[in-house]
């Protein structure tokens, strides 16, 4: 097939070395808030399914990436906070740094590249970190994103999979839209699996687990977070317009799901569908539920048959149940808004247009 051969030529060029054990995990601000189950699942898959070692210690903080890209803190501040994170990694005896967020990954990569080009900047940050905290640091031996790790281990996950990304009734592979965060590979294409134009990191997972990837004209377009373009209400039109453009473009392909590897992207791809439904009455699937948006850990967790409500699918505004039904996933719908032995908590309000 002309298409796949052409892509394989590109992928051959981008061979990223991914370590397969002993990770220092740096959590993501957005994911901790909106997709905490995804981070829990990442650790669970690595430790319980695959017997890997991953350290989740309590002293690390934000990398300050969002504030940096909102331009509210100086570059030296972010660099020093990053240096502190590296210091914690070294203290704990680890060399493989795995930041949960894509913006983080971009920040760490950019800072390491800058220090390579300008060693005097690295020296300055060493001094600042010492002055502020008394800490020293060494740069990590490997810097990889958790989606790189899941990509590298996708066939090991497949061995334990209970479900596939396949329509249980028809046997057809699910049509999957993959959305790779901008800060993964756009700045330094050779730091991403597959490069920036036809990245392979999510495609590899989807195909390994039985799905079919759908390409559409606006695939490479930013989801529209835009940092300050979302945070400030006055700018928010930029954000929703960007995401809507992607939805309009993918609609004819009738995707069954969207999977992303960035924290912000699923937030926008999920929530803006709700807003577009309420503002314009438009839903992007025929059944009125919208296109489910998943993180790659949620996708892996579904394939492994984990409890969807421990994965955190109840935190999504666009319901994921239609997808679960499609692949024949057995789950307890009553458990969705329940916690342990608690009586059913109050249910959230239903939106006006979007079906939930």
């Amino acid at each position: 097939m002309i298409e796949l051969k052409g892509k394989e030529r590109i992928w051959e060029k981008y061979q990223k070395e991914i370590p397969l054990d002993r990770y220092y995990y740096a959590r993501s601000c957005i994911r901790q808030n909106f997709w905490p189950g995804s981070e829990t699942t990442f650790i669970k898959i690595l430790e319980e399914e695959l017997g890997k070692t991953i350290l989740d210690e309590e002293h690390h903080t934000t990398c300050s990436g969002i504030a940096y890209h909102c331009d509210v803190i100086p570059q030296e501040t972010t660099m020093t906070i990053v240096a502190r994170q590296f210091s914690l990694m070294c203290e704990s005896g680890y060399e493989h740094f795995v930041p949960s967020c894509i913006t983080s990954f971009g920040i760490y990569t950019e800072i390491l590249e800058t220090w390579n080009e300008h060693p005097e900047v690295e020296e300055k940050i060493k001094r600042m970190l010492m002055e502020a905290t008394g800490r020293e640091f060494r740069k990590p031996k490997f810097l990889v994103h958790p989606s790189d790790v899941i990509y590298a281990l996708r066939f090991d996950i497949l061995k334990k999979a209970k479900y596939r990304l396949v329509n249980a009734k028809t046997g057809e592979p699910l049509k999957c839209v993959e959305h790779v965060g901008c800060h993964y590979a756009k700045m330094f294409p050779d730091k991403g699996v597959g490069g920036a134009e036809f990245p392979r990191v999510l495609m590899g997972m989807i195909e390994a687990w039985g799905g079919e990837v759908v390409d559409y004209p606006e695939r490479r377009t930013c989801c529209g977070f835009g940092f300050r373009q979302y945070m400030v209400q006055a700018n928010r039109g930029y954000s929703i317009a960007c995401t809507k453009r992607k939805f309009d473009s993918m609609e004819p392909y009738k995707p069954d799901l969207i999977v992303t590897n960035c924290p912000g992207c699923p937030f926008f791809l999920d929530r803006w569908q709700y807003v577009i439904a309420e503002m314009e009455g438009k839903v992007y699937t025929e059944d009125g539920y919208g296109i489910p948006v998943l993180t790659y850990e949620e996708l892996a967790g579904i394939v492994l048959g984990y409890n969807p409500w421990e994965l955190g699918l109840q935190m999504h505004q666009v319901s994921v149940e239609p997808l679960l039904k499609k692949i024949g996933f057995e789950y307890d719908p009553l458990d969705k808004f329940k916690v342990g032995n608690q009586t059913i908590l109050t249910l959230p309000e239903a939106p006006g247009v979007l079906k939930v």
């Binding site: 590109i10 920036a196 606006e218 490479r220 004819p252």
Partner: protein, 348 residues
């Protein structure tokens, strides 16, 4: 008794090598050419028409091969090794043929930039994304089957040239004129087509190029948009969607096209680095051979007895290549006949 002729070995039987051979033979030298392809004629052999007069490439080849019977051509032969000796150069090839030459002329030509490397253009991934070289084949051999009505073509200038991301900072010079020529040919072949040229600058430097460009606009209705292609995608109906900014009106645009023609630039030949090493001829930052002295002595090299000509020193038109080859023949003649032309005014 006849004096033994001096022997010139030429590497590469494209039009530069052939033209130099023609003149060297006439000047009384024995000439051998080694050529890695099955046939002589280099790239021009694969083309259809030439700019700006739309003469057939075949006519150029006929011209270049006019003395072919007078010298020895060794096809499907590649140079593997060479060393200096008292009588010039001993040269080995991959076909168990050895040569003893008094002078060497390197005319390995150029290589077309591999458009796969511009990943965002989708060459080899999306259907109907082709290069200028592919298009010449269509002109010669016919077009592939498809619904050929109202086709929209986009010619993309500067593919693999003037581009830090491709690793080639230089301008490949002849692609602009080629694009205008090919655009006109497409309009002539498909009278109901819509044709765009997306350019950064229009290098219409040669005689009648500007007039060809004006005819392209006025007579053939080709649209020239000052924009560099950023991205190619495929639509749901398999047409191609491009994103550009029309920089003259400051408007980002999306266009749907049926064919995209990537004007891939000239790069140094595959074996240029190897020849540079073997013969001690330095290359410039772009990998083309560096002559002894730019501007005034571009066929001589710092390696005595080794000469260069044609696109091996940089992108050229057909005419420039032919003239350069003649100039190289004269330079070799002066060398072999111990010319007493000084190199500078006031020096012997």
């Amino acid at each position: 008794m006849e004096e033994t002729k001096k022997h010139v070995l030429i590497v590469g039987a494209g039009i530069a090598g052939l033209e130099a051979a023609t003149h060297l033979e006439e000047l009384g030298y024995k000439v051998s050419i080694i050529e890695k392809q099955q046939v002589t004629g280099g790239h021009v052999k694969n083309w259809f028409k030439t700019f700006p007069y739309f003469d057939a490439s075949e006519a150029i080849i006929n011209f270049a091969e006019r003395s072919l019977s007078k010298f020895d051509v060794y096809n499907e032969t590649q140079l593997t090794y060479a060393e200096r000796n008292d009588n010039g150069f001993k040269v080995n090839t991959d076909k168990n043929k050895q040569f003893q030459a008094d002078a060497i002329l390197l005319t390995p030509g150029f290589k077309v930039f591999d458009a796969h490397k511009k990943e965002e253009y989708g060459y080899g991934i999306f259907q109907h994304v082709i290069t200028n070289a592919d298009l010449e084949k269509y002109f010669r051999n016919g077009w592939p089957e498809r619904d050929n009505k109202n086709l929209r073509f986009g010619f993309i200038h500067c593919v693999g040239s003037r581009d830090a991301k491709s690793g080639n900072l230089y301008c490949s010079k002849v692609c602009c004129a080629t694009a205008v020529k090919q655009a006109i040919e497409v309009r002539q072949h498909f009278p109901d087509s819509e044709v765009y040229c997306f350019y950064m600058d229009l290098r219409m430097f040669g005689k009648n190029y500007e007039e060809m460009f004006q005819a392209a606009q006025e007579k053939h209705g080709i649209n020239f948009v000052r924009a560099r292609l950023s991205e190619v995608n495929q639509n749901f109906d398999n047409t191609l969607l491009i994103k550009v900014e029309d920089t003259l009106t400051s408007r980002p645009m999306k266009l749907t096209l049926d064919y995209i023609v990537l004007m891939s630039g000239m790069e140094p030949a595959e074996n240029a680095a190897q020849l540079s090493q073997i013969f001690g001829v330095p290359t410039d930052e772009s990998g083309f051979f560096a002559p002894e002295k730019y501007l005034v002595s571009e066929n001589n090299t710092v390696s005595e007895g080794v000469f260069v000509a044609g696109t091996a020193t940089g992108p050229k038109t057909i005419t420039e290549t032919i003239n350069d080859a003649r100039s190289a023949a004269l330079a070799i003649h002066h060398y072999l006949s111990h010319s007493r032309i000084p190199t500078e005014h006031g020096k012997e």
